[in-house]
Symmetry: C2
């Protein structure tokens, strides 16, 4: 019995500056089928508030409570562990952490800092980690589809660089961390086996969701999807569809059966 659906956003609902064809209607069909929805993104280039406003700007019917971002998860982690962050994140995300200073301990927080990654900043983070700061990764994605259409280095490359140099392992807060999926599921009072994930990233979205115990994970051939992605990571997607509309058809059909 499927009761809830987790939806990735970039490459599934929108691409660049526009909603993908049929995506908004697909979301409405899922809602009309009585399914609870949560939107789970590894986007680490803007605050949760900005992501929300952007989605509404595309015409998507979504509340702020339905949206889950790694930075929001990091805020909770920092508060729970009495840590102030040392940020290696995109300028667009700095505001999310502006009220997080003055705590007893330090945590290096690594996101997709994009073009603001340079040797001095990365080496500064390295030295803080060597000195004993906690090590938080907002995400560990390998690459993303950049504005020019090509693939670009994502946060995971820089997280891995720091892991290698320090001999330490980062605590990853975004997808594919099971805790990230579980927090979204818990907010809609839904067990993993009652939920389905839809995403364009065969590793973080699909393999991650299935490892977290979700009953199904559907890979869409939009966004960063490239031919053959469905066989690159284990577990493999339950099914692959042309886009979110096809995925919604699959879910509604399996929901009714």
């Amino acid at each position: 019995m499927i009761r809830g659906v987790l939806l990735d956003i970039a490459g599934v609902i929108y691409d660049g500056d526009h909603a993908l064809p049929g995506a908004l209607d697909a979301v409405e069909r899922l809602r009309r089928a009585g399914l609870a929805l949560r939107f789970v993104t590894n986007t680490t280039r803007m605050t949760k508030r900005k992501v929300w406003e952007r989605l509404k700007g595309f015409g998507l019917n979504v509340t702020e409570d339905e949206l889950f971002t790694p930075a929001a998860a990091a805020r909770e982690w920092l508060a729970a562990h009495d840590c102030s962050p040392s940020l290696l994140v995109h300028p667009g995300l700095v505001e999310e952490f502006k009220d997080q200073a003055g705590r007893a301990h330090r945590a290096v927080v690594v996101g997709d800092a994009g073009e603001t990654f340079d040797f001095a900043r990365l080496n500064g983070a390295f030295r803080e980690l060597v000195a004993g700061a906690a090590f938080i990764a907002l995400a560990k994605n390998r690459s993303f589809k950049d504005a020019d259409g090509g693939l670009s280095l994502d946060a995971g490359a820089f997280v891995t660089a720091l892991e290698f140099a320090t001999g330490r392992e980062a605590l990853v807060l975004g997808k594919p961390a099971p805790a990230f999926f579980q927090a979204a599921l818990a907010s809609m009072d839904c067990r993993p086996e009652e939920a389905v994930m839809v995403g364009d990233d065969a590793e973080a979205d699909i393999a991650g969701a299935l490892q977290a115990g979700l009953s199904a994970a559907l890979l869409v051939r939009t966004g960063k999807y490239r031919d053959g992605d469905e066989t690159k990571f284990l577990p493999r997607p339950t099914a692959t569809g042309a886009n979110l509309s096809a995925a919604a058809d699959w879910i509604v059909a399996h929901c009714a059966s």
Copy 2:
């Protein structure tokens, strides 16, 4: 029977801008014992010619043929594989590759680019690798003792970032790659079991040499050596000595026996 000795340079023969006490005399004692010598360094911030001139400037008796650097190994690899390099290296090393253009294929060559590492350069290398360029790492060291006395990120962090993002493995040309030790040994017509390595890096110098089959590897407590290094990596050093002078005593004694 020991016939040849491989010597690391930085932290063994010199540190900063001066030869280490007793190091030049130790080299002379090894030569007088009839041993063939080769100097093997992972330095990737200057050309082989510059390293050689620097060593002579310290008063070391050394020929250019006795010196082995990863960049020189990369030149040979590029010629043998008909590749032009796409360089992600320190400005001081660019001259080493200036005559390597115009070949049929491309190879990304990653060294310790230091403060010239930035997002644009690393992402450019990533895209060349995704497009199919060969992937060469001059070294894969985790960190080095920087001018301010602190540890700083070395080439290995950036090599690992690109390996993670591309899902590919770099061909490492410097220590601890067995081929690097073997090339130095072959040049003095010496089998691995007839040779000893001396270095201050328990991973790249010591474990690397023993994995390459050398009969012994001596760790010196100079340069980047830190307390406890001798137990951090396997295989462990055959013996540990205060400096190159102590290591030379060990070698001459074992050579005569």
